[in-house]
Amino acid sequence: MKTRAPLGMLLFLLNEAVFFFMLIGAFVYFRGSALATAARSLNLAGASIYTVCLLASSITMWRGVAAGSRGWLGATLALGAIFLYGQGREYWALFRQNVTIGGDQFGTTFFTLTGIHALHVLTGLLLLLVLLSGAGRRSALDSIALYWYFVDAVWIVIFAVVYLWTFV
């Protein structure tokens, strides 16, 4: 049964979508009191660069699934890692400006939302790593790819809400 794994994954992602919707909702809820700090401390240019990396990783993932190629999957892994590195740098820059999760409402909502998302990216990377080490099956790759596209799509929304909306 070919469709089995993706249906389960799709349903799981539906649940995840609602989950992220609630977290993004909290960010928007507090946006009024968080905006000043956000505009002062976020680095739009940097974030744009690593966002592009994450989006590119969806393309490499798609090629990897289509061609069944380990090279493309390796590229996905690398791009995902760059994204996490970029986000780590953003966190570090914020810490240095004394913006932390225990600071104001911006810190609270920003770090919770992006932190949870980063955990999802990390999970995806680990799954890919397991797969590349030869332990996974073909059907697992379909599911992981689906998960990866989802995590990227969520980031597009987060990027729009957290970064773009702050600077327009």
Binding site: T3, R4, N15, V18, A26, D104, T108, T112
Partner: protein, 535 residues
């Protein structure tokens, strides 16, 4: 040791189902003991049987246990056991996920109870309103255990919901179309969709609460710019669908049991099935009725009041359909049927008192009093638990191969009915007299002591009834009459399997051409598929 290893490593849906049910039974005993402690403390005004802080832990754990460690797992257990059998499948779609989700819920429960030994159990009530649940007001670790335990339980529940949907979507026997699903399976399906949309709201709220408590974020503490109301919204966006998550599978059980013992098909399958959909949709638009006592604005509140009243309609449709199924039947009063009929009446009371809370000015008087306590016990005990007793008597023969004892069943039934109504009916009156809920003691105002004492006596009787139930299970496991495959002369596919079923469930799955495949087999002269409305 061999046996233990088998149970721990099993991926068979029937064994996992039994594990769920046994776990739930153990937690039911624990939750029951907590209930007894509550009633003992409240039996007279001014008692010091429990210290205030202990009492608050006990009622918090009672609620959390009964909801997350009893009702949810036992419903999942019946589902995991029965759904594959009822649709003619050999197992769930993902057997290993099935085992994983059970163990997630199991350890979630264990984690919750470890809190007792780690500096105190959670004590902010089962909905843990912020900022009371924040570190500033609940500094000990109980609430961290609560949030982490619920995250595990929630993840497990989501996993099993995914598993149910995929199983029902992809593993039905030939001829078992969506429109022919047994109503229990249909309601489990709808329920699983509800879970997928509702649980993430809880998970998000818990993550935010944990951020607050462990990382010093300020989602919910007003003093630092957070919003206590946000917690209420998020919790109840989960919490109200949760009420239906706990009651829909029970509706499904009743929809199986009443027809079989009335010897008639359910009255208006289509209406019962589509009203379930209506409930599922509406249940996302009613959460604010838990917050009517907050000043949210009249327009805002009115709209949610309208939705909350509206949801009574599809629920009422079901009550009428079940009652009408009785009429014209040939009713056999087994213990299962007794509980099912009692369910109709008790649940109607709980449903009607629920409409009181949708009627905003009444809510402004009675919310957070004992009237609420009475109301939701009529829904969750009079509704779900009565349906579960009925289901236990009905499906025990399939699971164990033996009938439960009917004589003990009668004792079980009457003790529970009398004890339950005695405990909780008077609590309506206490609410009307102004007794708030969640108090560890109360002033000796006129009438309060007497009614509380009645309630406590009722609880003792109810407890005895529950003990008789457990004795009946144990005794029937050992000495019960052999049941045969189909003791009730029933119509859904599970009764075509052996009792207990073979590891692969069926040797051959009977042909499915209508909603009652076994009726068709037994009555080749008047099969359902030839009848108007039967196919």
């Amino acid at each position: 040791m061999k046996g233990l290893e088998r149970w721990v490593s099993t991926v068979d849906h029937k064994e996992i189902g039994v594990l769920y049910m046994l776990t739930a039974l153990v937690f039911f005993l624990i939750g029951g003991v907590e209930a007894m402690m509550i009633r003992a403390q409240l039996s007279l005004p001014g008692l010091n049987f429990l210290a205030p802080e202990t009492y608050n832990q006990v009622f918090t754990m009672h609620g959390t246990t009964m909801i997350f460690l009893v009702v949810m797992p036992v419903l999942a257990g019946f589902g995991v056991y029965l759904v594959p059998l009822m649709i003619g499948a050999s197992d769930m779609a993902y057997p290993r996920l099935n085992a994983l989700t059970f163990w997630l819920q199991f350890f979630g429960g264990v984690l919750l109870y470890i809190s007792f030994f780690a500096g105190g159990a959670p004590d902010a009530g089962w909905f843990s309103y912020a900022p009371l649940s924040e570190k500033a007001f609940s500094p000990h670790a109980g609430l961290d255990y609560w949030a982490l335990g619920l995250l595990l339980l929630g993840s497990g529940t989501v996993g099993s919901a995914v598993n149910f949907i995929v199983t029902i979507a992809n593993h039905r026997a030939p001829g078992m179309t969506i429109r022919r699903l047994p109503l229990f399976v249909w309601m489990t399906l709808v329920n699983s969709v509800l879970i997928l949309f509702a649980l993430p709201a809880l998970n998000a709220a818990l993550i935010m609460l944990l951020s607050d408590r462990l990382l010093h974020a300020h989602f919910f503490d007003a003093a630092q710019g957070g919003s206590p109301i946000l917690w209420q919204h998020y919790f109840w966006i989960f919490g109200h669908p949760e009420v239906y998550i706990m009651v829909l599978p029970a509706f499904g059980m009743i929809s199986e049991i009443i027809p079989v013992f009335s010897r008639k098909p359910i009255f208006g399958y289509g209406f019962v099935a589509s009203s379930t959909l209506a409930i599922a949709f509406l249940s996302y638009g009613v959460w604010v009725h838990h917050m009517f006592a907050v000043a949210l604005g009249r327009v805002f509140i009115s709209v949610f009041a309208a939705m909350s009243m509206l949801i009574a309609v599809p629920t009422g449709v079901k009550i009428f359909a079940w009652s009408a199924t009785l009429v014209g039947g040939s009713i056999r009063f087994t213990t299962a049927m007794l509980f099912a009929v009692a369910f109709l009446l008790e649940f109607t009371i709980g449903g009607l008192s629920g409409v009181a809370f949708a009627t905003v000015p009444i809510d402004w008087e009675l919310t957070d009093t004992y009237f609420v306590v009475a109301h939701f016990h009529y829904v969750l005990f009079g509704g779900t638990a009565f349906a579960l007793f009925a289901a236990a008597y009905y499906w025990f023969p399939k699971i164990s191969g033996r009938l439960m004892d009917e004589k003990m069943g009668r004792w079980n039934f009457w003790l529970v009915v009398i004890g339950f109504n005695m405990t909780f009916f008077v609590q309506h009156l206490l609410g009307l007299m102004g007794m708030p809920r969640r108090v560890y003691t109360y002033p000796n105002l006129p009438g309060w002591a007497a009614l509380n004492l009645v309630s406590t006596f009722g609880a003792v009787i109810l407890g005895l009834g529950a003990l008789v139930f457990i004795c009946n299970i144990l005794a029937s496991l050992a000495f019960g009459t052999r049941a045969g495959n189909d003791p009730w002369d029933a119509w859904t596919l599970e009764w075509a399997a052996k009792s207990p079923p073979l590891p692969e469930n069926f040797e051959t799955v009977p042909a499915v051409r209508s909603r009652r495949p076994l009726w068709d087999v037994k009555h080749p002269d008047a099969p359902d598929w030839a009848a108007e409305g039967g196919a």
